[in-house]
Symmetry: C2
Subunit: 308 residues, 2 copies
Amino acid sequence: MSKLVIVGTVAFDAIETPFGKTDKILGGAATFIGLAASQFDVDSAAVSIVGGDFPQEYLELLSNRNINIDGVEIVKEGKTFFWSGKYHNDMNTRDTLATELNVLADFNPDVPKAYRNADVVMLGNLHPMVQMSVLEQMESKPQLAILDTMNFWMDCALEDLHKVIAKIDVITINDEEARQLTGEYSLVVAARKIQELGPTYVVIKKGEHGALLFHENNMFYAPALPLEEVFDPTGAGDTFAGGFAGYLAKTEDYSFENMKNAVIYGSTLASFCVEKFGTERMQNLTSDEIDHRLKEFKQLTQFNIELS
Amino acid sequence: MSKLVIVGTVAFDAIETPFGKTDKILGGAATFIGLAASQFDVDSAAVSIVGGDFPQEYLELLSNRNINIDGVEIVKEGKTFFWSGKYHNDMNTRDTLATELNVLADFNPDVPKAYRNADVVMLGNLHPMVQMSVLEQMESKPQLAILDTMNFWMDCALEDLHKVIAKIDVITINDEEARQLTGEYSLVVAARKIQELGPTYVVIKKGEHGALLFHENNMFYAPALPLEEVFDPTGAGDTFAGGFAGYLAKTEDYSFENMKNAVIYGSTLASFCVEKFGTERMQNLTSDEIDHRLKEFKQLTQFNIELS
C-alpha cells in the first residue's frame, strides 16, 4: 500500500456564512486533506501541531479514518491554531476575522520514521521553509511531491517559496495567486512560467469555475459541479488537494492521463465539502455517494462529437 | 437543407483593447451569428437594417458565405448602428464609449417570405418587441426558437422581455444576467427559475469560464478553451450562439444530448473569434482548423474513470 505524508495545519475554525455561524470547530489544511485522502486505500500520516486545548475526539476522528497521527505534536501548554472568517453573500469572497497562530508559530515538523520513505508527499499551505523541512526529512525522493500555497507567502516569503517550488512535482494554486506569482494574466502563460520554476505539473484552482491541469503542452479542465447551494466553502481547496493526492497515491500512476482522473476525484470530493459547515460532510461520506457524483461529473462534461 | 433565420444588428464597431485599436469595422450580432452559422450546411437568412453608409463589400462578405441578405433593409438616407468600446486589461470588463442607434431606432424586421417557414430562429440581442415581431411573422412554429438578450432590456423593458421569453425554446444569457433576471445567486437555481418562465433549455454563458446548458434536471458544462491571449472578446457571445444554432439546424436534432455537441461547437467557434479584432478571424476560418480545435476540446475535457 502506498504511503502518503500530509503536512499542514490541524486547527480550530469559526465560520460565518449567509446560512449561519459556528463556534470553534475542527478545521485545518491537514485535516481536510487527510479526510479526503482517507477515501482511498492508502497509508496516510498527518504531520502537524496542536495545543493542549485540542480535543482528543478530534484526533480520534482522524486516526479512526486510518490517518496516522504520530507526527501530530501536542504542545500541552500551548493553544491550537485558530482561524475565523466570514463569507460574503456571493460565497466567493471572505473577510478574515481572526488568525491566531499560537503553537503554529514554532512548528518544526517531524515526519515519523516509518513515513520517511513515503511515495507521495502533500505539502499543505504553510510557511515555505516548513514545507521544505518536510521534503528534506524524506530518506528517499518521493514519487510525487505536491505543494499547495497562497498569496500570503508570495507577499512575505517569496524567496523561500521559490526555493521549495523548485523542489516539487505538482503545485496547486488558485488563479489570482498564479497571476501574482508570474505577473501574467493569461493562465496558460502563467502555468508555463510556473513550470519553468520547477513543478512539471501545475493545477490552477478557480473555485466555482473548476480547476485546470497543465503539463508541458497539455491541458485538462475539470469544472466544479454547479450546486444549488454552497453552504460553506472552507476547506474546499484542501479537500480537492487531498482527493488529488489520495487518488494518485492509491493508483501509483503519476502520468498526465491519470492526473486528469485525480483532478476529477479532487473536484468531486470538494463538491461534497462545501455542502455543510467545516468537515461535517466529509466525516460520513460514503463511497456510493462518491460514485454517484462521479457519474454526475461524467454526464456534466462528456460529449459525443465524432472526429475524424 | 434546414432554414435558419437570424435577426440582430449589422453594425459598425470601433474597438480598443490593450493590444491596439480599430477604426469603424464590421460588427453586429447578426454578423457574428451569421458568420459562425455559415460553417454549417444550412440555408441562413439575416434580418437586419443598415444605413446608406454601409459598404457594399460588407454585405457581399455575408452573401458570399451563403447568408441570404434579402431581409437586410438598407435605409439610404440613414446611418448604420455604431458601437464603440474599450476593454480593460483583464479583457472581462469594458467601457462603452459610444452607442449610436441611428437606423436601428426604427427597425421593423421583415422576414423574407421564403424564410417564414424556417426550422430554427435565432433572435440576437435586440429590443424584446423586435424579437417578438420576428416570431410572429413565422408562418409555422419553428422547430427551435433561440433568444439572446442582455441586462439592458431587463432594466428598461422587463415586461416585454418576459413576453418573448415565454415564447422561445432556448435562452442564452450570461451569468450576471441570469442572476439579475431571477434574483438568485446560484446558477442552478437561476436556470430552474428561467425554465419556469418558458424556455425548456437555458444556456448560461460565463465568458472565459465557459458555458452551462440546463434542461429539466440535466446539466452540461463546456469550458472556454484556455487561450494564451484573448485579443478582442467582441462578438464571442454571438459567435457562440451562431455556432450553437447552426449546428442544431444542420443536424435537425434538438435533443439535450445533441445540444451538448452544439454547446461545444459554439465554444469552439467563439475561441477563434477572440483571436483577432472583430470578424477578422471568422472570415477565413477553415473546417480543418475547427476540427483540430474540437480535438483540443475533447482532450481538455474527456477523462477515463471507469464507473460501475
